[in-house]
Every structure is written in C-alpha cells, then in structure tokens.
C-alpha cells in the first residue's frame, strides 16, 4: 500500500525568505509524485509533478520540488515566499507506470507567510 507523510502541520515563513514544505512517501516501484495547493473554499490546484528524469521539477507560481529516491522524499520549495502563497499544500503519490491513477494524499501542510 502506498502512503504519504507530511510531517509538519504548519510552516511559518517571512515574506521574501525561502520556504520548504516536506513530503516523504512509501510506494513500491517508481511512483509519480504531485503537489497540489488548496486556497480557502476552492478545489485542489495542481502545482507540479515528478514523473521521470531530472530530479528538480519546476511548477506554477515559482514553486519547485526535488525528488530524492534514496530518501523517498519530494520536498516543495520556493526561493522567495509571497504572502499570497499562504494556503494548504498537499503532496500526493500514484503508483506509476502500469498502475492506476489513484492519488494517495498526505494530510496537508498549512503554509503561512507573514508580511
């Protein structure tokens, strides 16, 4: 069975500082990894994904994530946080090639960026 862990319920960062939201996963084979963001009263918005290739993937709104197979991690990063980045962030995993598309989500990390 696949699982995703987001060890931090909340991350606080000052505007302009770099941010990291952590994610580790457990799945057999080569998974596909995703980050989604949820703003209040909105659905989940896709940010970025790792399928294969370069371990550093870039996504929307200046976010990037680094896939680390040995540490089974897929941390979300941004060099300079904005107040408007404040939202709930979800890491998700699917089984990868040959499998179904079922997404397994982490519990979410609330990112609060202070002015």
């Amino acid at each position: 069975a696949q699982s995703v862990a987001q060890p931090e319920d909340q991350v606080n960062v000052a505007e302009g500082n770099p941010l990291t939201v952590k994610c580790t996963y457990s799945v057999s084979g080569n998974p596909y990894l995703f980050w989604y963001v949820q703003y209040p009263n909105r659905g989940l918005q896709f940010l970025l994904k790792y399928i294969t290739g370069d371990n550093l993937v870039k996504g929307s709104y200046g976010f990037e994530a680094e896939f680390n197979k040995s540490q089974t991690s897929f941390h979300l990063k941004k060099p300079s946080a904005l107040v408007s980045d404040s939202a709930l962030y979800f890491c998700a995993v699917s089984p990868g090639s040959g499998g179904y598309s079922t997404l397994t989500f982490g519990k979410g990390t609330m990112l609060l960026v202070s002015p």
Partner: protein, 114 residues
C-alpha cells in the same frame, strides 16, 4: 482555462436520504474520479471511472455508492442512503489520461448529513 465544475456547492440532507452530487469534467478528459475529505482529515480516493465503467474503487466505495456518466458531460456520484459519517467535502476530478497526467479538481460539494 477549462475547469471542473461541481453542483451544488453545499448539500444538506437527512440521514437515510439519497443524494446525487454532480460534476462536469473538463471536456477532452477521459478519466474521472471522486475523492472525499472529512473535516480535518486527508483527502481520500473513492472511485475512478473510464469508458463508462469503474476502473478502481476504494474500500470506502461500498454498495451505498454509485457513479454514472448519464450523458456526454456530467459525471455523478450517488449515495443511496446517507449516514452521518458521509458528511464530508466531495471532490470530483478529471484527467486526459491516467498515470502521468495530473488530475484537475473541482471546487467540491460540502455534504452535511443531519
């Protein structure tokens, strides 16, 4: 930009009643999904649907649940006899293909069972 839409945004129903949650996926997408999020808990997969049949379902998706694509645009989730524990936010999602393609989520329907 095309988006997934869901209606209603909020549904209140009494225990034992049937509810139908509606979704309009993105028009050129072929795979459709339902997820739910109980307040304060993780987003959980319910069911995936392709080519007019269920591709995969979770343990949550028992006989009380059913899905249907009644026409070329709508995708529905029916709960036959609602229970208090069915209260949750229900998200519809769609993707062009499975696996590599990201899923696009609707804004959700908040179901409250009283």
């Amino acid at each position: 930009e095309p988006e997934v839409t869901q209606t209603p945004s909020h549904q209140v129903t009494q225990m034992g009643q049937e509810v139908i949650l509606r979704c309009v996926p993105i028009s050129n997408h072929l795979y459709f999904y339902w997820y739910r999020q109980i307040l304060g808990q993780k987003v959980e997969f319910l069911v995936s649907f392709y080519n007019n049949e269920i591709s995969e379902k979770s343990e949550i998706f028992d006989d009380q649940f059913s899905v249907e694509r009644p026409d070329g645009s709508n995708f529905t989730l029916k709960i036959r006899s609602t229970k208090l524990e069915d209260s949750a936010m229900y998200f519809c999602a769609s993707s062009r293909d499975r696996g590599e393609d990201e899923q696009y989520f609707g804004p959700g329907t908040r179901l409250t069972v009283t």
